[in-house]
Amino acid sequence: MGPESFPQNIHLRDGSSATLLPLKPGDMDALQAFYRNLPEEERLVLKDDVASPQWAKSFHQRLETGEVISLIAMAGDRIVGEGTLYRTFRGWTRHVGEIRICCHQDYRRRGLGTSLAANLVKLATDLGIEKIIVQVVANQLGARKVFEKLGFHKDAVLPHHVMDLAGTKRDLIVMANDVSQIWAAMEAINQDTPLHMGD
């Protein structure tokens, strides 16, 4: 992660601003506090039990190895948003990175999530990750629009795959951004035209 890109001051649509920076191990407590403050419904969407100390330890380890890259958005001294890029170095999906974005209720619909996501996409590209995925629930229309704008397309649909607190099942959509396409374009222009003779 280029230190020269962060911290990044961003201006949001409602006129407020926030600062994006990489998560440091010392921020773990603040991050957990941020998660605990999310409505229960939303904490359900987070795959891990982010409130538990075991999670914090494992997350910290993965930050160290680089399997996890996390950006936080600060307004003053509060964390108001967070975006994480997950990847593995071994295994059959080692070319794939997964993004998850989370914004405080007061900081939604103003471009913060988009900004976090865009930065993570750029980081993933620079790291040589070939494909980035994000999981969204079918009715999260706002989130889907944000990712479409960032170049994601619907890759797969898992029907009735997520269940909310009330027991309602919804489709889970995996959206993907084939970062390797960008580099495929670069490779294409590097193709030196072959000799062609005759008609």
Partner: protein, 182 residues
């Protein structure tokens, strides 16, 4: 500045033409000079070698080809073997240090400078940008074109989404070239 005749040579797929095109664009579009780029067809593209001829000049360019270059930018041993005999006395050859071994074939008075462009590209994350490292190295060593012009030419030439890495590759080659500048 009189004419400067440059030939870029390498294997097909290394982005030899793109390399020549960026130099030409930097000169003609952003550098206030005349530039003519010709890609090699015919016998010169035999085998796997391919090359780009770039002439850069303050004045209108008459003869369009590069027969005896002032500067060679080479990314493969084949290209080195093929083009080194054409180099003008006192000319300069810039080469990829891992793919080309000059091993004593250099004519009298010729300056030869290598750059580990493949390694630089891999360190930056993509081997593919090796030719952009070469462009940067060329710009840094020769000082022929302002860095800003070359930078703009790179941005004009690479696909959206690849700009940041390509600019890093350019700078890496350029800085390495500045250290060896004559």
């Amino acid at each position: 500045m009189a004419k400067t005749e440059i030939r870029v040579g390498g294997l097909g797929g290394q982005g030899v033409i793109l390399c020549g095109s960026i130099i030409g664009k930097a000169a003609a579009i952003h550098g206030g000079k005349h530039a003519t780029l010709i890609q090699a067809f015919g016998p010169e593209a035999r085998g796997s070698a391919c090359s780009a001829q770039v002439t850069v000049s303050d004045d209108v360019i008459g003869y369009p080809y590069v027969k005896n270059p002032d500067i060679l930018v080479l990314m493969s041993q084949d290209a080195f073997n093929q083009f080194i005999p054409q180099l003008k006395p006192g000319g300069m050859v810039l080469y990829e240090a891992e793919l080309v071994k000059p091993d004593g074939k250099l004519p009298e008075g010729v300056r030869a400078m290598g750059v580990p462009a493949t390694r630089f590209a891999e360190e930056l994350g993509r081997r593919l940008v090796l030719n952009i490292v070469m462009v940067g190295f060329f710009a840094g060593v020769t000082g022929l074109l302002p860095f800003e012009a070359v930078e703009k030419a790179v941005l004009d030439s690479v696909p959206r989404g690849t700009e940041e890495l390509n600019l890093k590759a350019l700078k890496k080659g350029y800085d390495f070239g500045r250290e060896q500048a004559v």
